[in-house]
Amino acid sequence: MAIVPLSEAVRELVRDGDVVALEGFTHLIPHAAGHEIVRQRKRDLTLVRMTPDVVYDQLIGMGCARKLVFSWGGNPGVGSLHRLRDAVEHGWPAPLELEEHSHAGMAAAYAAGAAHLPFGVLRGYRGGDLPARTRVARIACPFTGEELAAVPAHRPDVGIVHAQQADRRGNVQLWGIVGVQKEAVLASARSIVTVEEIVDELEPRPGGVVLPAWVVDAVCLAPGGAHPSYAHGFYERDNDFYLAWDAISRDRDRFRAWMQRHVLDTADVAEYHASLAAEAAAV
């Protein structure tokens, strides 16, 4: 593990064509890392994520993705992801292959990946049209004969998550809603963790999940790096942004202009926040 700038981590650990999982279930979504992937114009990524919300809408709209592996692709509490829809419905800016799962299937696939098993087992994918459209197999219990579903394990090339803290040795702690982040990191061949702050010593927290330094490849300081998602104990969810995103993302030109101004024309998460603040002040 090394504590490095985010730009360096993305440059060295994310390669064109990689299978990349940015995780964070509503909470601690690694937006700063997503922006850096956009800035470095990574291409042909297979993006894995249970809930590809705004972070993947941006990556898809900017043409970074070839395929999406997901279970729920909406703007939470708001509605559609217009860039995701445009890619699927109209192939803009590029066609997007879909591999669609249920939440339970995605969670089992990550857990299997973390456990270094080739598949996860669940009582799911029974009936309906989803099983025919995704990667799932039936498997019989060798003791009872019951038929269950098997999903292939997620083993991303790179897992990326955001956390509240790391210590100087690179041990990471996150708390609050911890989602599937531990599994995403442990299932991945390489991993990047962006953090709100680097402290001398981690203080154990109720509900804290600790990732030891030796399972993480790069720790990057990125305060505010979850915005518009939130970091429990640091800042709240920017609900207004999610609502505003609906209008920004609805129009291709407006989306591109927004990404140019706030992501491509900024160097890092600090400039991104300054850019948003400047825009807000100008209104």
Partner: protein, 237 residues
């Protein structure tokens, strides 16, 4: 959407759904109307109702309506916060949830739901968000409550895609009334005050069965409306 008596159709839906929750029920709650209904139940007749959000919060007690299923207040007020894999494996699949709320873009007469696509899967007219937790919620909880606004586009004779099965659907609460399965087919069992059977038929894309003992739901009480609006003014936008 305002109606006679000073309440909206959504408020009527939320109130009627809330009434169906027994005190102590463990509810898997999605965002939006289901969350509103479950939180209302907890603040009125069912203070012991346990709210479980798929983000991993068990026993959340939000003071205001969360905008997302992963709002910070859910974690802060929960009895326990677990990982998402644990939530789906030990809690939902573990058979520990009594009631699951589902919404959808389309429903058929058997309570099957579509939240995946409008049009063909490979070339959809509308790409919807997808199933999320719904496929396993639909079969993993004892009782599924569906909340869906009535329209011929939503209540269809044939789904464009079957995202989740209707086997455990016990009630569909709409802005016009209540449907329950009778002999395997959703049947109109109640209309909300001021709603006619013809209105409901017109908003349903199949030849809707009407229960012979069709009743009218009770309008929201003042207490229900106040509790509901307190939740919404604090939290909703």
């Amino acid at each position: 959407m305002s109606r006679d008596g000073g309440y909206t159709a959504d408020e009527m839906m939320a109130v009627e759904a809330a009434r169906r929750l027994r005190d102590g029920a463990v509810c898997f709650v999605g965002i939006g109307l289901p969350s509103l209904a479950a939180n209302l139940a907890r603040r009125t007749h069912a203070p012991g109702c346990v709210l479980v959000y798929e983000s991993g919060t068990i026993g959340a007690k939000p003071s205001m309506l969360p905008l997302s299923i992963g709002d910070g207040e859910l974690a802060e007020t929960a009895d326990a916060v677990v990982s998402v894999p644990e939530m789906f494996a030990y809690w939902l699949q573990g058979g520990r949830i009594d009631v699951g709320f589902l919404g959808a873009a389309q429903i058929d007469r058997h309570g099957n739901l579509n939240s995946t696509v409008i049009g063909p899967y490979e070339a959809p007219a509308v790409r919807l968000p997808g199933g999320g937790g719904a496929p396993e919620i639909a079969l993993g909880v004892r009782d599924v409550f569906v909340m869906l606004r009535h329209s011929p586009r939503a209540f269809v004779s044939r789904l464009d895609f079957t995202t989740s099965l209707g086997d455990n659907v016990r009630v569909v609460v709409t802005d016009l009334g209540l449907l329950e399965p009778v002999d395997g087919e959703l049947t109109l069992v109640a209309v909300h005050p001021g709603v006619s059977v013809e209105q409901v038929r017109a908003a349903t894309g199949w030849d809707l069965r009407i229960a012979c003992d069709l009743r009218e739901t009770e309008p929201p009480t003042q207490a229900e409306l106040e509790a509901l609006r307190a939740l919404r003014t604090k939290g909703a936008r």
